[in-house]
């Protein structure tokens, strides 16, 4: 599996799409570094609001939340999420939050 | 390449027969031994293959449904394209076997005007197939005049109908022409359509050339060479009654014809020609779509590892309890509460 250089001398394992292999290895530096791969140069408060919610939800439920839930809980409309994360909530925001990619009928 | 190889193979068979009888005088080989071997291989091979198929079970009921299912009483179900009764299956199979129902559906897909995918009906393959198979059947039955004594009425009847046009002496049968035409079409489309040519194997060309060889020698024998048909029938009846005897004076071409037919018979069970039987045994066609009504049994239905509810609850009990979901077994640390139901 590919190694991803976080930048501070550490590396984490990522899958083919650049998602974190072990969500436990996530930290803020990893998030910032992954952000750069998804067109998010700097993570500002609004980004963190999304990322933190995703993280919290994931830690509680073990999966990514519905996008609608994400919107409702953060108060951001879907287009705002796309503004923040150009590659979208699933590929962008979830990746930065260290969540695995959802699979199945989605 | 595969086509040429097949043609060469058939020509070699012809050559073999010619040499065998003309130069070698091996009449008993080509007139008696080879036919017996061919018949044994045909019948034995065919039974062997079919039993081989039958030995494997049909574990699941997987018909391809081509119409509305039987469900609510006020919704008209498609009795034959999506049969739910044995009778429906019988009709579906009859339509398939007698009229090539599925092939009749054939469409031709094209991308027209650059961006429109269009589907036109195309019946050529169906027509070619129907023409080929039915003329083959008629020819087969017609030949019973050489294999039966007395000749059953339906053979005479069929000959009369087939020779209805009364062209030539002896009359030229319509089916001979249709058979030739259909074979030619099936061969030409195989050569002409790039995709079909791409998938065609020796196994596909060889039977076509073989049948063309059989048809050609047959027509030559009937209309041009005129060998001693009485002698031929004496030979065949001898074979049938297991008292084989070679009749003198039969033209060598007959032995070529016979040898090609024997090749076909011997080749049959070990080739794609087994679709003759396979069409009856295809589980996507010969089963009723009633698996929600009647339980279908799989003889090898072996147990598999299942994540049981107990294991599942063990995995998630705390979370379930925390979320207020009912559980069958209360978590250990807390004293048991009354089960919520």
């Amino acid at each position: 599996m590919a190694e991803f250089d976080v930048g501070n001398g550490t590396t984490v394992e990522i899958d083919e799409d650049g998602f974190l292999q072990e969500p436990e290895n996530w930290n803020k530096e990893v998030a910032a570094a992954l952000g750069k791969t998804e067109g998010v140069e700097d993570l500002v408060d609004e980004h963190w609001k999304v990322v933190d919610f995703l993280r919290e939800y994931y830690l509680e439920f073990g999966v990514a939340p519905m996008i609608r839930k994400l919107c409702k809980s953060t108060g951001f409309k879907l287009n705002k999420i796309y503004e923040l994360f150009p590659s979208g909530p699933a590929k962008g925001a979830c990746k930065i939050a260290g969540l695995p990619k959802p699979t199945g009928c989605v | 390449m595969n086509a040429v190889l097949s043609l060469v193979a058939v020509l070699a068979l012809v050559g073999l027969a010619v040499l065998g009888v003309e130069a070698g005088g091996l009449y008993s080989l080509f007139g008696v031994i080879v036919p017996y071997i061919a018949i044994v291989l045909f019948l034995g091979g065919l039974i062997f293959r079919v039993l081989g198929w039958a030995k494997s079970p049909v574990p699941f009921r997987i018909p391809t449904t081509c119409g509305q299912q039987k469900s609510l009483p006020w919704i008209k179900s498609s009795k034959y394209d999506n049969p739910h009764t044995g009778f429906g299956v019988l009709v579906r199979m009859a339509l398939e076997i007698l009229f090539f129902r599925s092939l009749f559906r054939n469409t031709k897909t094209q991308i027209a005007e650059g961006d429109k995918v269009t589907y036109g009906p195309t019946k050529w393959l169906w027509m070619g197939a129907i023409a080929f198979h039915y003329s083959f059947l008629v020819i087969f039955i017609r030949h019973l005049r050489f294999f039966t004594e007395p000749i059953p009425f339906f053979v005479d009847l069929l000959q009369t109908v087939d020779g209805f046009m009364q062209v030539g002496v002896p009359v030229f049968y319509m089916t001979s022409l249709i058979f030739f035409g259909a074979l030619g079409y099936l061969l030409l489309r195989r050569l002409a359509i790039p995709q079909v040519r791409y998938i065609s194997l020796v196994n596909d060309y060889f039977p076509l050339f073989l049948l063309l060889g059989i048809a050609t020698t047959g027509i030559l024998l009937r209309h041009f060479v005129k060998t001693d048909v009485v002698g031929i029938k004496e030979l065949t009846l001898g074979l049938l009654s297991f008292q084989p005897a070679i009749t003198e004076g039969i033209h060598w071409l007959f032995y070529v014809h016979l040898f090609l037919v024997c090749t076909l018979l011997a080749y049959f069970p070990f080739s794609k020609l087994m679709h003759l039987i396979g069409v009856f045994m295809s589980p996507t066609r010969n089963l009723a779509n009633n698996s929600r009504m009647v339980r279908h049994i799989n003889p090898w239905n072996a147990p598999v590892k299942v994540h049981t509810y107990e294991e599942y609850e063990d995995d998630f009990r705390d979370k379930m309890v925390a979320a207020g979901l009912p559980v069958d077994k209360q978590p250990e640390p807390k004293p048991a509460q009354a089960e919520k139901e």
Binding site: - | F146, T148, P150
Partner: protein
Amino acid sequence: MHDAGKVIIGLAIFVLLITFPIWFTLASGKAGHRPELELPKNETQCVESKEYMKAWHMDLLNDWRDAAVRDGKRMYVAEDGKKYVMSLSLTCLKCHTNKAKFCDECHNYVGVVPYCWDCHVDPKGD
């Protein structure tokens, strides 16, 4: 499911059908039957050679029919120079007096139904 019963019944029907000639002929008891031709008693030479007649008589008769009926020609000159009247009734049947014991023997044996008798009357028949 194996449906063994259905497969075996199907197979039996197939074998029964395909071996029809064997059991049908054996059952009829005529497997050894051979055409027995009643040859003319007072004539040894047909219009053409025996071999030629055996293979080509239908073509010869057809030519005769066309010549006689369509062109009005009645005279046939054989290979050996002999002349014959082109007539089924007058020439052929003169020697081969019994259709049933000559023509029909072979025709029936190999299932040939010539249309001669659509027009001609078999003098000995009905």
